[in-house]
């Protein structure tokens, strides 16, 4: 039986995963408690997006070992949509375009699928409209985006904002934001960061993946982790991000590689 530590939202132990036979995650460990904001940084190709997709259940990635407990449940046994319905949200590094499906319909169906699981009544288009108008405020998005096809022809920054709009609607327990800051102009960055801060509560947790300290000025993390070659090689407080910004990754890699290798 799994003994639930009431405060723990996500617990990842020795997680390994591969894609098309190539190992990418080589033993990830991470513990996230309710109310916490974590940031993962790390060089290109180190496995950050892979990690988030594995958590979300992307079918192309095969978990080869380890465990992931989400709110006391074995996350790896759940289908991707079940994970989403139970509160795992991932803002995509590259949000997809869905021609022919309006943003509004997409949002409503997603919202209702979550409500259904919570045993709540599904909302009709009329009631949903009120809710969505409210949430548009969070990311200061123009309502005209609701009537366009999902992400189709959206600029890079608009797509990212649309991801946070979805987060605002779905009110996840765990939000994984994969480079939501890339592609945002300075004003948009502030708006999105401000939106995320509004959505952070003592009950949920946020995992930010970013390359830039700048975002962390606005969304202040409780913990910063460095991922390299499929592992979390070191962790620290928000100062670690500042240090990485000024010194780069080499020193962390040097200091930690032998240690990790010995493990």
């Amino acid at each position: 039986m799994i003994v639930e530590n009431s405060g723990t939202v996500l617990s990842v132990r020795d997680l390994t995963a591969e894609v098309e036979g190539t190992p990418i995650l080589k033993g990830v460990n991470l513990e996230i408690k309710a109310g916490e904001i974590h940031a993962i940084m790390g060089p290109n190709g180190s496995g950050k997006s892979t990690f988030s997709k594995v958590l979300a259940g992307h079918p192309a990635y095969k978990v080869t070992g380890g465990e992931v407990i989400f709110q006391g449940n074995n996350l790896l046994e759940m289908e991707p949509e079940e994970r989403a319905q139970s509160g795992v949200f991932m803002a995509f590094q590259y949000p997809l375009e869905i021609p022919g499906v309006t943003n509004l319909d997409f949002l409503r169906v997603a919202y209702n699928s979550r409500r259904k699981v919570q045993g709540l009544e599904e909302l009709d288009a009329f009631d949903f409209d009120e809710i969505v108008q409210e949430k548009l405020e969070v990311v200061k998005m123009n309502p005209t985006f609701l009537n366009r096809s999902v992400n189709e022809g959206f600029s890079g920054g608009e797509k990212k904002r649309n991801e946070i709009l979805q987060m605002a609607l779905l009110e996840p327990k765990l939000a994984i934001l994969d480079e939501t800051d890339s592609g945002l102009d300075i004003d948009a960055l502030k708006i999105v960061a401000n939106g995320v801060n509004q959505l952070a509560t003592p009950d949920n947790a946020i995992l930010l993946i970013t390359h830039y300290q700048r975002l962390l000025n606005y969304i202040v993390p409780d913990f910063v982790h460095v991922m390299a070659d499929g592992r979390v090689i070191t962790s620290g407080g928000k100062e670690l991000a500042l240090e990485l910004e000024s010194r780069g990754y080499d020193w962390v890699l040097e200091e930690n590689v032998s240690e990790v290798g010995a493990k």
């Binding site: 079918p59 995509f92 022919g100």
Partner: protein
């Protein structure tokens, strides 16, 4: 790509049952004697027998077309039964006298024919194998002077009208299958809308193939007199047999000055199993003649069934300022093959045509759009707009487009747009990450893709068509 987008599996075909009914069936095979027999059974006027025999003689000299992008083993035309009718002769004027088994069959298909349960604003002609078994709302239509009955009845009651128009749009030797149909057609619908009359309700024919060895060769003729309007819809289903049945229909439409005909099809013949065994060969010739000035013919089709579909509803735009439209959704799954599209032939001045074709291919199916836009030398100011979009589901389906354009008048404007999109694993993952199941995801994407076509269907059927597509793809992903 990994396993998410799997080979598509068809939702069990709901309409695959067989009705056990005693039938009047003639021996297999085709000869002049068989044609005389069919004509005699139908108590047809002499001109009709002549028409049939002439067609048969032409057909014997023709060869089956091989240019389309579909493949099937040779058809043995001597192994087909050309006439089969439920034994108890239906009395067309009184539904109470229709065999209850037949009423039940149509009710099971969602087409209630009895007084109490009828669709409120749709008149239905129900065709079972080779004959029409009932037509609803005939009296109400007659009040407006609208004739809606089986073509057999029309041949007896209104022979001059039929003789005047039959074969005028699709000549008997137009093509191999049209010639065959002209020789052996058994039943179909006839519609005549008099001058300046707007037909007060939707007209609809429901085709049901029941027998396993019978070919269905229906013939439909719609004539819209000056200033009239009619909207007509046909639906089709068949039982599941593991042999193939031939369905070779001919539909002719004639629109006179300022008349408009809207013709919609929701085709859901049995498609065969997932390995391609069984299913209907749907080889159909449909053509509309915009004979009058300002006339308009609009084809809307939702083709989801049949093992093979070979069909090009066309418009011949003779009247000045006449308009032809073709809106099509063709869905193929498993081993289905479709080669479908349209021909827009511009003859008159300032004629306009619009083609919107949406092909959806899933499984290992093959889906081709084939279209011709032809502008004749005298068609000054002709305009065509064509849009052909294909959507692929999974990695093993095929889509092709063959747009042919022949312009012989330099004032014409012809525009063609095409696109191919794909429902792939990444998109499905995006939906599932938002808590939406793969099935809902596919149905949302498909509805969006088909919207421009569904909007053209009569309201009662648009929802039905949307649902039908989702059903057809259910279980296809995930």
């Amino acid at each position: 790509m990994s396993a998410t987008v799997k080979t598509l599996v068809n939702q069990p075909y709901k309409y695959g049952f067989v009705t056990d009914i005693e039938a009047d069936t003639i021996p297999r095979g085709l000869s002049e004697d068989v044609i005389r027999l069919i004509s005699a059974k139908k108590e047809e006027p002499e001109f009709m027998l002549e028409f049939r025999l002439k067609a048969f003689r032409q057909w014997q000299k023709m060869t089956e077309p091989a240019w389309s992008n579909v493949k099937y083993p040779p058809i043995n035309y001597q192994d087909i039964i050309y006439y089969s009718a439920p034994k108890k002769k239906p009395k067309l004027n009184s539904l109470e006298e229709v065999d209850p088994t037949l009423l039940e069959t149509f009710e099971k298909l969602g087409i209630p024919l009895s007084e109490q349960k009828r669709l409120s604003n749709v008149a239905v002609d129900a065709i079972f194998d080779s004959v029409s078994v009932a037509t609803t709302f005939k009296e109400k239509l007659a009040e407006e002077g609208v004739i809606f009955c089986s073509i057999s009845e029309a041949l007896r009651e209104y022979p001059e009208l039929v003789q005047k128009y039959l074969g005028s749009v699709v000549p008997i030797a137009d093509n191999y299958f049209a010639a065959l149909n002209s020789a052996v057609f058994s039943d179909g619908s006839f519609v005549y809308v008099p001058k300046n009359t707007k037909c007060p309700m939707e007209l609809s024919t429901y085709f049901r193939i029941n027998s396993g060895d019978t070919g269905q060769f229906e013939r439909t003729l719609i004539v819209a007199e000056e200033g009239s309007y009619v909207s007509y819809l046909e639906g089709c289903t068949a039982p599941m047999y593991d042999t193939n049945q031939l369905h070779a229909a001919v539909v002719e439409l004639v629109a006179l000055d300022n008349a408009e005909i809207k013709y919609s099809t929701v085709q859901n013949w049995y498609a065969g199993d997932e390995n391609g065994k069984g299913g209907i060969y749907n080889f159909v010739t449909k053509r509309g003649l915009c004979q009058g000035v300002n006339s308009k013919i609009s084809w809307t089709q939702v083709e989801t069934g049949s093992a093979i579909t070979w069909k090009y509803p066309s418009c011949v735009l003779v009247g000045d300022n006449s308009v032809g439209e073709f809106y099509s959704v063709a869905l193929t799954n498993n081993m289905q093959q479709a080669d479908t599209g349209t021909k827009m032939v511009h003859v008159g001045k300032n004629t306009r045509s619009t083609i919107v074709s949406k092909g959806i291919s899933a499984g290992r199916s093959s889906n081709s759009y084939r279209g011709l836009v032809k502008v004749s030398p005298n068609a000054k100011g002709a305009r065509n707009y064509s849009q052909c979009d294909s959507m692929l589901i999974g990695d093993n389906a095929h889509a092709n487009t063959f747009p042919y354009i022949q312009v012989q008048n330099n004032t014409a404007r012809v525009e063609h747009e095409a696109s191919t999109s794909k429902i792939g694993e990444e998109q499905l993952f995006y939906f599932s990450q938002r808590g939406i199941s793969a099935e809902d995801a596919v149905s949302m994407m498909i509805s969006g893709f088909c919207k421009d076509v569904f909007n053209q269907l009569p309201m009662e059927f648009a929802v039905e068509a949307d649902r039908l597509l989702s059903l057809k793809l259910e279980g296809s992903v995930g």
